[in-house]
Symmetry: D3
Subunit: 309 residues, 6 copies
């Protein structure tokens, strides 16, 4: 057993090491005084607020009446504007090369401008999400009602976050879209990169383990099951051996495709329209329209001993 002095000097010594700039310089993030910082808590409130705006009466804790709905929309949008402006600004500051020539006030106004642009897109996001909800409801015999889909289905959560994050990314907001996508990833196990392009009436059943890469293009009326990967196989390197960023490297999935659980589809290949991909397959080549792809048959045998495989 160490003496108390021994403990404390060990601790003091560690503080010295941890405070040595050499040890933290690549992993330290300095904010400038007065700059907002990205906040998962505030972003969670933003996403909840957007969800309450899009699906009135589901996620707030209030009694909505036809009479008062307009007031609630007004207030929610107003609060959303303030919160979102701040977080967009936080994203801009976080990724800024923090040269002194940036005019903070102007950047703040720019953030507000992006927030207003995002807000003006909300009616369109609502329109698309309604098609997603409908697809989930129609496609799942276990769904009792559209209400249940909106209220309980993790895919609705993940797709909502994706559509929000995608719009923010299109507007040029840094970092924030990625955090919003990761919030849904953590909650639902569905990882959709905000840069992917996804059509209407999109649905994901169960969803845990789904991955949709950043350069994916997905058509309308596509359905994925849990564990499906739409990923990159490999990526070209530049002369220094570093991956070249921005090259399309994820699949294109055309309209009306269904992909079953745990299928792994890699590379900039094309899955033709109306195809069905069975579960647990590994696909790295194009698939023609109207195709059916299944795993090679499993080996089945009888055995006596209970001791595993």
């Amino acid at each position: 057993m160490q003496s108390e002095n021994n403990l404390l000097s060990k601790i003091n010594h560690t503080v010295d090491q941890l405070a040595d700039p050499k040890t933290y310089e690549v992993v330290c993030h300095e904010h400038r005084l007065g700059e907002p910082v990205p906040s998962s808590e505030k972003l969670a409130r933003i996403v909840n607020m957007v969800r309450e705006i899009l699906f009135p009466g589901y996620f707030g804790n209030t009694t909505l009446r036809q009479d008062s709905l307009r007031h609630y929309m007004g207030v929610y949008v107003d609060e959303l504007f303030a919160l979102l402006s701040e977080q967009i600004l936080a994203g801009l500051c976080f990724t800024c090369d923090r040269k002194e020539e940036v005019d903070f006030k102007e950047r703040e106004r720019y953030a507000q401008s992006l927030a207003a642009d995002f807000i003006s897109f909300l009616p369109e996001i609502r329109r698309i999400l309604v098609t997603d909800v409908e697809a989930a409801f129609v496609g799942d015999p276990a769904a009792k009602s559209r209400s249940e889909v909106i209220y309980c289905y993790p895919a609705v959560r993940a797709i909502s976050n994706y559509r929000i994050a995608h719009r923010l990314l299109q507007l040029g907001v840094p970092l924030i879209p990625r955090i919003i996508a990761e919030m849904a990833h953590s909650e639902t196990g569905i990882d959709i990169h905000p840069k992917a392009e996804i059509g209407e009436s999109f649905t994901i059943d169960h969803g845990t383990g789904v991955v949709i890469g950043s350069t994916c293009i997905i058509g309308s009326n596509v359905k994925l099951y849990q564990g499906v990967t739409l990923g990159a196989k490999s990526f070209p390197l530049d002369e220094d051996g570093n991956p070249i960023k921005g090259v399309p490297r994820h699949p294109i999935v055309e309209d009306n495709v269904i992909i079953y659980a745990q299928a792994t589809i890699l590379g900039r290949i094309r899955i033709g329209r109306d195809s069905v991909i069975g579960g647990n397959v590994w696909v790295t080549n194009n698939v023609a329209p109207n195709s059916r792809v299944l795993q090679f048959k499993a080996r089945e045998s009888s055995f006596k001993d209970g001791a595993g495989i």
Copy 2:
């Protein structure tokens, strides 16, 4: 950069659109004044309270003594009754077609009646969960003690929620069972539909990505690994092209079956007792008792270049 007036008029215009009934009518949920609403926060408290009742001394923040345990049981059950009655009522209201003829007071009493019925089933739930914990402990060489299993294993969380939700669903409670199941899904990545029927001594190792569909029937002493799907392959459509709800479409898994990671088993097929299903297989046909099913051998080759696959 937009002027401030420009921003504000953009926002005001969006509020107008969002408050237009045509745009939200399929996705708006109106509560009647005074009706309780389903609350994830309260349901989380309900589930925690049930867990503390079932496994005394683990999840509460109190010091249990033999002397005082009875008092705690009394108080927890009492609080559970109040909270659960309210949330069951919220479920009944949420799914009610809200015709004016419903007598609110009677519905409230009905909710209390269901809550009391649920509570009277708690000793039986405890009895079954003890078999599940035992199965996890015996089956995992990494488990140090039953305590560790109860305290840390996500499967215990998921299976507890399932057994709670299953009982509520059997009693006819709408919506709430599904929310409780999704809470475990979000936390553990294990998605068990509350309608599935699952025997004793059930265990799931690691668990992320497991899906158990609503018409599954699972025997005793079954063990699943992470990523296992017990799903539906396809479902019969009615004359309008909509899926027919309520048809059995998920597997039957008999006693003593082990299914390894990422196996996808689809359709109303039967996995015979004492069988072992290897990982990553795609199974859509019956499997005889005492069988072993393995993926077709992988292709192995040597390669020089480091550039992926």
Copy 3:
């Protein structure tokens, strides 16, 4: 509808059953008066505090300046020491066979001693995590900056928790390492047993569904994708039919190996250095260095009807 008396007597009867020692004795955990209990909330604060110490400026809500960084390190380490000492003590108490001969005061000092030892290892943990962050950044074309990796990537969270938990386990702390690992599992879907041994420059892409078993040994510069299992195939039983604990039963993965999504690799086998394992394969045998392992080709066919597979 039951009468109110009926409800209450049903409830009272259930309390009697639940308070009957016979029904809870294997699932009840008694604390002694004054002993701390493991607390997920406090452990979450501990992990956040460690992360803020390792990556200054990312996870706290403060404005870091070069001048004040040392003060923050001092305060965080000080608070960490107090919290961690208490939770280590809670772990010791939880797993103690609670014989009366234990000297509480001495055990408390022992917990403090372990906490100080852990703290003195923090600079080394920071050094290794920097290599992990670098590997994630270099290996992902979608990563914009190291900041984004630290801030958003679930793998960083999971690997940080693993490296923390691994060190605590090496120091002999019971239970707590497992809880810390499960916290990351719940949040990210990545399940790394704290006992596994993992080299530097380790990265996991997306990550949901990854499982790394307790006796795994992983070299440097290894990359896993989502859904990869490094698990046990079966385990030897002792004469009573119980699994023998502590036997190596999980894979050894050598340096520079890449394993694609959903691959399941089981048993104490060796994946030779510089190999690539394709997705969705089931591997239960050794793989030579420089190998490429791919799933057997899928069956592809054309079909007309839209009704599934």
Copy 4:
């Protein structure tokens, strides 16, 4: 030092005593299942909400714009209606003789009806409070602006609560007005009985210790200083020696009266208009209009020793 068993049996014995109905029967309050209970926390939110409605932009945490103010009013009033209905119902239940014949649903509707009546009086409350704020501003040379008065002056808080509570009491709401008045009493030290009648342009400077009894009648433009009591001297007893309730027993204070610090004015007397009452006096008789009442001159002497009085 007592043994642990000794301690526990002492505790157990005390529980027996405390649970003996004879010991608590006069001080126990039973609620019926499902009835709301008066909640200081909710009442505090109600009062804050009313204050934000009356003085927009002061007490909420939002950025008010002319455009959005109407939305905020709509939402606040809506939320106020729900909260207040519930708390009024709680008041009705609390004081109800809980005979079984009460129809809960009807009582609930009655509570809503009272809440709506209260809300429709809010514009009038705002009008009167504006006169109170003006009186405080004009009468205090230290006040920099009306904003400062609204924001900081405890009298505004106390008078607002009084005017709210007074209206509720006029509507026949039991218990709740008293709790609201006590909330201000605790916060400001100003104790105004909600039954008192108080004219416009009323102000209290500093305020700690002011007491205004339930049958007081106060005219317009009256100013009180800290510690002023408008109380009852004695009260007639009935034949059983109990005080007769409801008899006027507190002062009438006419228009434009100023009463200085610590003056104690007792009984159903009349302080005539335009009078000034000096501090620390004891007044139990009528005071004519235009009077000045001062304490009898103090005795002043010189002394040498420092030891007190």
Copy 5:
């Protein structure tokens, strides 16, 4: 305007000064590692718990039924015991001269022993408080019911805290009684020193500004109004000019005395039984039983000008 560097160096310089031991040594309080500290938050919970135990159904947020009341008593007492033991220990540590020879474990047991002794006195505290509530109800024509008195009257709060604190002080608990008394003082403006001795059926009307000194002795059936001081006039000094501690220096108030608002009664004098002291008087001599003491008549005059006094 100062430059940013200027600001920061000013701040750094101040930190140096504040961290200089010479500047804080008389006002710094060092805790030893692992010692609990007095916590107003926990003490507030203790007091609320005691109030809920004494007056069941008033201050908790639960629905009490005859059936479950015993369970609640058991649980509340159990939790009270744990919390109170810790806070008593905190008090003992705070005032300890922290010599190394103290055995922490023994002190902890001693704290538990005191907590159990306090708890065993709760039935007696309930008995006395019932007499206080009765006195308040009977003596106040504005009181509608005993419930209203228990629920709303600040005097009940202040007297409860006093009776709790007094008992703890009698048991020898340091510091904690004083903090409990100050909590009521802050909330109600009533300052009763826990060392004062006060008989049954004691009541205080309104109460703001009442002060009852530490060596007061108050009989049964005494009533005080707001602003009454029972204080010390002067106190003997020792040869160094410091006040001699522990000398009786506050009034004795005999049975059935009424003291009106703002009366100041100083010194170890005796107010004889059945006397009435009028408001705003200054009393420093004994008062015979059955006396009436009133302020000398005020000077009343007429005046024209509105400009004050």
Copy 6:
């Protein structure tokens, strides 16, 4: 009973009235987008942080060691600087005439500059408060230790807030000093205007009801008891009948004066050094040094009937 429609139209009508600009224009406060607002919650944290800095080890929840104290000072001062800068800015914005020509960035820097100036005064505030604590300890026979005084005495709280607020006001910070003073007023019943000037070794016993006006000047070593008013008698009006602001109108109290409970001292008079003012007196004229002022003797009589005064 009103119909539901009736209720709702009543509510809607009220919203119309409340949103009519004419009704709120004098009591509405508009913030500009992005401006901070004064926040009682943040100011409370500021005051607590200052108290923890001044009296280390008392108000934080941490274990202070000599080694770590400097780190804590550094961190607290750093956090204080950020919070205080924001709240000073909020005060500047609140009282600004919000002309468009104000440069927000410059105002922000000005706020930081004031915050740094305040911080550099903290060592001096600590020095003075030590004299106040000493005076309270020496002057109160009931005080067991300086620790108890710092920890429990409301006067320390009130005087700390005063000394903080006074310094901020001297620096020219608007509004914030007043809010800080009112926080202490609400908590302790002691109302000290931040503009008053008060010497060292100042103490207030019990304190409820004390009022110290804005132009008071108080020497060293002065002691006040509860209920003492140092107020204004009347104030000169300008030609419009409005009080002239800024004129000295409160007493000057010289060194070593003691003023007993409930004394009311009004106007710009001088209480000469070493004087003692008895309780409950009304003083509106100068008092010579070394004087003793007592209330005129009370009228004492005997009475039989129990019916009051």
